[in-house]
């Protein structure tokens, strides 16, 4: 059995590493300039032709087309389910370590293609270099970690050793798992959900966010290349409102793992509770949803570290992470100084095309986001005290960093998840009050404090309601195994991704007890 080790992020201080990344972008640019990519549904290993399709543009440069996404429909869904049911029958019996080793192979291939994969994300999703690299790293870690975890946690357990009985707890896969993934970690998140389902012995329908279909297709190709059987994975690109909805409602789906917005997540949970005709199973749902994550900075904080950490947490990938910091509380006198330094720092962050290595903020994901956020900002600029607001470059969906001061804790800006580079701040008079204000939120995903008071640190450990608490460091960037990730309250349901309990969600437990005696003869008893 192999142990687990995280792979290392790219060290961009090495010139040759930067060159490799740049070369991957140049190669991709050349390909796209010849013709954009086509993304088709993939069922049983082959691409399907469908009627409808949509065009996806480069968010860095809306005049450039990235790909044409061919939209899956119910026909593709039915065909997938038929194939996957067949595939499941053999895949579930494949030896656990063989399944685990296939995941490790997926990891190896991704590692070899890491710059190529990153390059796709810079263009398709507007992910800046470092963020794109972290995405690939996390995807690779998920493969290696779940391979390792499967081997140490999914073998049968002897519950109690008795001479006359063999008592076992065994794990069996659930069956057909649907993976519905978001665009913000377009490789890592779907990869984690898909490979977790696969290594546990399930077959998988994978429906990516339409905004990140190209990288999703690359991922599926890698799965097949690594030796995941063709009839165990179906790739159904399309629209959430159509194919996503149909998948959720389908009676043959045994489990849905979802990462995305609270609205869609809650809707999936609701729809999954409905038992439809011919349904023989209660659907299990894992849903990782939003956050309105808060960082508290107290009077004794190292303000240099706090400013740097908050900037990265709030504006890394333009705030489009569920873990991103969107609220800051300064305790007492430090508030003004903190916000002054944050606003002055925000004004110098580099906003530009994600393909350019220097960009700190790339574009937001698409036109909808761009328009929604701009409208919200317009309102904020009227309603709240502006710390920093700016006009971003044209040509792509660029939005610069925004900071608001003295924002009321009951306001929309303070309470609602925005998924953009918008940071609200307010001042509290005590650390305990700050914790209360932070906790007054429907979400409990990530959060952080900057403090050098042992007592405050202890207090936050006990009282800040978040799934992932970060002390004196940024509140984004969870690393597989090191910081298992996920929230509670309305932030989600399910065990933490990249944590020791994650895989158990993809299996049923069966207890088997066998009487091992025959007519009074108990083997081994007299020895």
């Amino acid at each position: 059995m192999k142990l687990f080790n995280n792979i290392s992020p790219t060290d961009f201080s090495i010139a040759s590493e930067r060159e490799k990344f740049q070369k991957a972008i140049d190669t991709l640019n050349l390909k796209i300039s010849k013709s954009s990519f086509e993304v088709h549904p993939i069922i049983n290993g082959s691409e399907e032709s469908v009627e409808k399709s949509i065009s996806r543009e480069n968010p860095n440069d809306t005049s450039e087309k990235i790909c044409q996404v061919h939209l899956s429909g119910t026909k593709e869904l039915e065909k997938s389910i038929e194939k996957l049911k067949q595939g499941f029958l053999s895949w579930k019996n494949v030896n656990l370590s063989n399944r685990a080793n296939t995941l490790r192979k997926v990891a190896d291939i991704m590692n070899k293609k890491r710059f190529e994969l990153s390059a796709i994300m810079t263009k398709e999703s507007g992910k800046p270099w470092k963020e794109a690299d972290a995405d690939v790293v996390e995807a690779i870690d998920f493969c290696n970690y779940y391979a390792y975890l499967a081997e140490i946690t999914l073998d049968p357990i002897n519950t109690q050793i008795k001479k006359a009985e063999l008592n076992e707890l065994v794990y069996i896969p659930r069956g057909l798992v649907a993976v519905i993934s978001p665009w913000n970690f377009p490789l890592a998140i779907p990869c984690g959900m898909v490979v977790a389902a696969l290594v546990s012995g399930n077959s998988v329908i994978f429906k990516p966010a339409e905004q990140s279909s190209l990288i999703a297709k690359e991922f599926v190709s890698i799965l097949l290349e690594a030796g995941i059987p063709e009839n165990v994975i179906s790739f159904l690109p399309g629209l959430g409102s159509e194919i996503g909805n149909a998948i959720v409602k389908h009676p043959s789906i045994d489990m849905i793992t979802f990462t995305g917005s609270k609205e869609v997540g809650l809707d999936i949970i609701y729809e999954s509770s409905v038992v439809r005709p011919n349904q023989r199973n209660i659907k299990k749902v894992i849903a990782e949803m939003g956050g309105k994550n808060c960082i508290i900075v107290d009077e004794g904080a190292d303000i240099d570290e706090a400013v740097k950490g908050i900037l990265y947490s709030a504006f890394g990938f333009s705030g489009q992470k569920c873990s991103a910091c969107s609220r800051v509380i300064g305790v007492g006198d430090i508030y003004e100084r903190l916000v002054d330094r944050l606003t002055s720092a925000a004004s110098d962050l580099i906003v530009g095309r994600a393909e350019n290595s220097a960009s700190f903020l790339g574009p937001v994901i698409d036109k909808d986001s761009f328009e929604r956020l701009n409208k919200f900002i317009e309102n904020c600029n009227k309603e709240y005290e502006i710390g920093y607001s700016t006009i971003a470059p044209l040509g792509g969906y660029f939005i610069g960093p925004h900071i608001y001061k003295n924002v009321p804790a009951n306001s929309k800006l303070w309470q609602e998840e925005l998924f953009g580079p918008i940071l609200a701040s307010l001042k509290c008079n005590s650390f305990a009050e700050a914790i209360d204000v932070a906790n007054d939120s429907p979400y409990a995903l990530t959060g952080g404090i900057y403090s050098r008071s042992p007592k405050s640190i202890k207090y936050a450990r006990a009282n800040l309601e978040v799934g992932n608490l970060y002390i004196n460091r940024p509140c984004t960037g969870a690393i597989v195994q090191r910081q298992p990730f996920g929230g509670y309250k309305l932030s989600g349901i399910g065990e933490k991704a990249g944590g020791p309990n994650y895989l158990k969600q993809f299996v049923y437990e069966r207890a088997i007890s066998e009487n091992t005696t025959r007519k009074g003869f108990v083997p081994g008893l007299a020895d």
């Binding site: 080790n5 290392s8 004794g300 240099d304 220097a358 007592k455």
Partner: protein, 451 residues
């Protein structure tokens, strides 16, 4: 006589001339020495104590000071109280006399290592150094520059300091050089520049722009320094930023405009595994340039943070793990620099009497005279050592931090940690009174890993 024997004889002479004169931080008086001695005898408290020293200057009111003091030291206040003469009543909610006393004590401690808050305030102490035949280079302590506004302020602080020193006739009196004819005394005063603080977006992913912007700002500093007769060193930093720093140095020092700047300085960190290669590369650069550069050789001050960061990222540590390896590498580079005094002015920066003696003896052996290199040490940490070497006819320069308390704290804590770590040469020398022989031991002995 072998080089080792010479080093031993010379080193012994230095030790004898130092005698019992411990540097300020190691004497019996003074808060810093008490704190350091105390933490040396009570390692369990060292972490808490240093964390407290780290946070104190940032605290703006006495209640908050009391809270932190109490939280970090708790019961140990009983023991610590009398030592600091502020009694045992230190606790949250108590009025401020005692709490102010604590902050004051820390400030006093900082003043041993930090020359003052502004260049003007620092002038008398700098003149004092000169009177004692010690050259200096001033480093301006600063917070991170998170914005261009802050980077601009930092740049202005350098320009201001250069003017203040440059306009001081006593400091700049070239008729009374500390060491006549020594290239390190062509310009009487000197500053050390922390380059990355001059540009807020200085990162490897913004490499080209970083080099461009820093080159411009460094040129501004050099022009004014040239006019005011102030020498310049560019400090080395961490491995993430060093490639940007060296690239900028080459660009600016290599430009026509600054070819006449006498001995513009840079720094090599011997703890870096690639430092020998880097030294060769820099010497090649100096050859191409046609005019010598000053090269300060240090062991390196970012060991903890770099080691921690490489562990977190899963990167190979760019630094030597073992101190002896660094020491041995240091001597290798020392030799290389001394063998190339036609194209560089070596500045041997260390408090380790073995390392310093090695440089002096090797220079002697290969016929490099005392006016071809200098020794450098940190202000407040090595005065008796510096004096002993000056007594032997060498030029010694003190690295003098200047600035406010808060940004200075990181520096102070690093110095305190350095002084009390088990491997610290200073600690071994002045606290433990180790055998001179073992202190002067060749670091390459039993150290086969060194290539």
């Amino acid at each position: 006589m072998t080089l080792e024997n010479e080093i031993y004889q010379f080193g012994e002479k230095i030790f004898n001339s130092i005698g019992q004169n411990a540097p300020s931080g190691f004497g019996k008086k003074g808060l810093a020495s008490k704190l350091m001695q105390w933490s040396m005898t009570k390692p369990s408290l060292k972490t808490n104590l240093f964390r407290l020293v780290d946070v104190l200057p940032a605290l703006t009111n006495s209640d908050v000071v009391a809270k932190h003091v109490h939280e970090y030291l708790g019961e140990d206040l009983t023991e610590l109280g009398p030592m600091f003469k502020f009694g045992m009543k230190l606790a949250p909610g108590l009025p401020s006399v005692t709490n102010i006393a604590v902050k004051k004590s820390v400030k006093e401690m900082a003043q041993m290592f930090i020359v003052g808050e502004t260049p003007e305030i620092a002038l008398p102490k700098l003149k004092n150094l000169k009177k004692n035949k010690l050259a200096f280079t001033v480093d301006l302590l600063g917070e991170y520059s998170v914005s261009e506004e802050e980077a601009e302020i930092y740049l202005k602080r350098y320009l201001h300091a250069i003017k203040v020193f440059g306009e001081d006739t006593e400091l700049q009196d070239t008729n009374k050089p500390i060491f006549k004819g020594h290239p390190g005394c062509i310009f009487p005063s000197n500053v050390s520049v922390k380059l990355t603080a001059l540009y807020s977006q200085c990162t490897p992913l913004n490499f080209a722009k970083s080099v461009e912007v820093l080159s411009k700002r460094l040129s501004t500093i050099l022009k004014l320094a040239m006019k005011n007769k102030i020498g310049v060193y560019i400090d080395a930093e961490d491995s993430e930023h060093n490639p940007i720093i060296y690239e900028t140095i080459k660009k600016v020092y290599g430009s026509e405009e600054f070819l006449d700047f006498p001995f513009p300085g840079l720094v090599i960190q011997a703890y870096a595994k690639d430092s020998l290669e880097l030294t060769k590369d820099i010497l090649d650069f100096a050859k191409r340039r046609g005019k010598p550069v000053a090269i300060r050789l240090v062991k390196g001050a970012y060991w903890d943070s770099e080691t921690a960061s490489s562990e977190l990222h899963g990167w190979e540590n760019p630094l030597f793990i073992k101190k002896e390896k660094t020491d041995a590498n240091y001597e290798k580079i020392t030799k290389l620099l001394l063998e190339n005094v036609d194209i560089c002015l070596p500045a041997i920066g260390s408090h380790n009497i073995r390392s310093l003696s090695h440089a002096c003896c090797y220079a002697e052996k290969i016929g490099v005279s005392k006016d071809k290199f200098e020794l450098q040490m940190l202000y407040g940490m090595a005065d008796p050592i510096a004096k002993a070497f000056v007594g032997e006819g060498y030029l010694a320069r003190m690295y003098v931090p200047l600035g406010e308390m808060i940004p200075g704290m990181g520096y102070l804590v690093r110095r305190l940690l350095e002084n009390t770590s088990n491997e610290s040469f200073l600690r071994n020398t002045f606290h433990d009174q180790n055998e001179i022989k073992s202190l002067l031991k060749n670091p390459s002995e039993n150290n086969n890993e060194i290539v």
